[in-house]
């Protein structure tokens, strides 16, 4: 039986009005503008773009304001908006070797050509609260040096020169798209990477950390981490040639991992890959570790039963919008469901009581 229940319209309307007031907070305090969010909370904006899977800083800033800073709610808003956009096409794969790097470090080669460029990093800060930021103040002048205008070669390209790291098989195949076709297992590496790059940062971090603690250990070096902007090129169908349709900031991490070699492959390093919208360093490293762990089968490694090796487990649970949707739906009215469970438990109780009574009276009779 299905019983439709109506009601609560006024309660809902009033709740939304109150939400708007609470969102605004004390009106004696200046209202936050989208530009302020975009410029001063840029890493939150980056996270919303990465997990919302839509590069648009202004839109992400709006979502953060509307969500009162709840980033998963903001990601939800961006994902919902994304589904309304007609798809004009796909870009050419971005060339990260041509990235204008704000930051570029290698944990494997001290003297890498192009150098170790720290960029605007939290690393080496003391993680002590800076009470100067509680007051308005001027920012110090940023030192400048002779700019490097040529491209910075990838660290893996040097290892490749020595043929001591696996080669990434080049192709121009059209990759699977999980926004268009439902995920099926086993998933291609392309779909795994798409899923990881939009996956929840906390979940991907936890999975990556588990591999470091020994669940499917494959010791990773950060061969290279780079953050910067790359042009996005797309062919314009009406014109028949490519233009740079814009520019995106990306964080790329390439890990260099151990590999024993096999009967057919000499000992060589293997690789994990992370590529994330915005300045998203933690997520990018974590993505590379999880990508590498999920490649166990193609690299002839043992299935150790570790969670990070189980692609069905990882990919089915990494999306925070799916997860929160299913998790939070249980707070919505389940009156009828619950009523039937209640009836069932009462019936079981009644039956158990009747049975006990019958047994007791039989015993008494004997």
């Amino acid at each position: 039986m299905y019983v439709a229940v109506k009601g609560g319209e006024r309660a809902i309307e009033n709740a939304h009005a109150w939400l708007a007031e609470e969102r605004r907070g004390d009106t004696g305090v200046a209202e936050l503008s989208l530009v302020q969010i975009r410029e001063q909370l840029s890493l939150a904006v980056n996270r919303v773009m990465a997990e919302g899977s839509l590069y648009d800083p202004d839109l992400a800033a709006l979502a953060i304001k509307q969500a009162r800073g709840d980033l998963i709610e903001a990601i939800f808003l961006v994902r919902a908006y994304r589904t309304t956009l007609p798809r004009f096409g796909s870009s050419r794969p971005v060339e990260t070797r041509e990235m204008a790097c704000d930051r570029r470090i290698s944990a494997t080669f001290k003297d890498a050509p192009g150098g170790q460029v720290l960029g605007p990093t939290f690393d080496y800060t003391h993680r002590l609260l800076d009470f100067k930021l509680a007051a308005e103040g001027d920012v110090p002048e940023v030192p400048a040096a002779d700019p490097r205008m040529q491209t910075t070669p990838h660290i893996t390209s040097f290892l490749q020169g020595e043929d001591i790291i696996e080669r990434e098989p080049f192709s121009d195949d059209v990759p699977g798209d999980l926004t268009r076709e439902p995920m099926v297992f086993p998933a291609s590496r392309a779909v795994r990477l798409q899923s990881l790059t939009r996956g929840d940062e906390g979940f991907i971090l936890g999975m990556a950390y588990s591999t470091q603690r020994g669940y499917a250990r494959n010791h990773a070096f950060v061969g290279e981490l780079r953050i910067g902007t790359v042009p996005v090129e797309m062919e314009i169908p009406e014109l028949g040639f490519c233009i740079e349709i814009g520019e995106v900031e990306l964080t790329e991490c390439e890990t260099v991992n151990q590999f024993k070699g096999s009967k057919t492959v000499p000992p060589q390093f293997t690789r994990g890959y992370g590529l994330v919208f915005g300045q998203s360093e933690r997520k990018s490293i974590a993505m590379a570790l999880v990508d590498r762990a999920l490649r166990w089968e193609e690299l002839g490694e043992d299935n150790l039963g570790a969670p990070a090796q189980d692609e069905e487990f990882v990919l089915s649970h990494s999306d925070n919008i799916q997860a929160t949707g299913f998790l939070e739906h249980i707070k919505l009215p389940h009156y009828v469901d619950f009523q039937s469970e209640l009836e069932l438990v009462r019936k079981l109780r009644r039956e158990a009581a009747e049975l006990a009574e019958t047994l007791a009276s039989r015993e008494a009779a004997e």
Partner: protein, 150 residues
Amino acid sequence: MNTNFSAEDRKGWMSLLASAEEARLTELWQDYGLDPDFEFLRAPEVGGIMVRGRMGSTGAPFNAGEMTVTRCALSLADGTVGHGYVQGRCKAKAEIAAKIDALMQTGAAEALNEAVLVPLAQARQAQKTARASKAAATKVEFFTMVRGED
């Protein structure tokens, strides 16, 4: 009609317009002053494109996520067709880009280039150089500590 341009030139100005800062482009366009009669062939429309990367930066492609793009197409009174494809969701920016794309195919090209495209290219270059200079200042210079007698 200016026929003295190549596909490469057109790619150049369309690319510059696509990622131009909205406020700066609007300002330069207004300063240029000429607003030609036109008809939309495709009204400005906001959409998305899928941005792809390559596995390990050199391997097979994968879908990294989408970005917003606005496009439109128009024709000038003389029939010249201009296309605007710009990053973001600004319809006015796409319209200006399409008008400039059309006018760059006409006799107005030289003046328009001077008034709008050259300043845009300079601004872009200056911004890139400024960031690269700050990055360069954070490059680590290693030095080795020598200890002991010799």
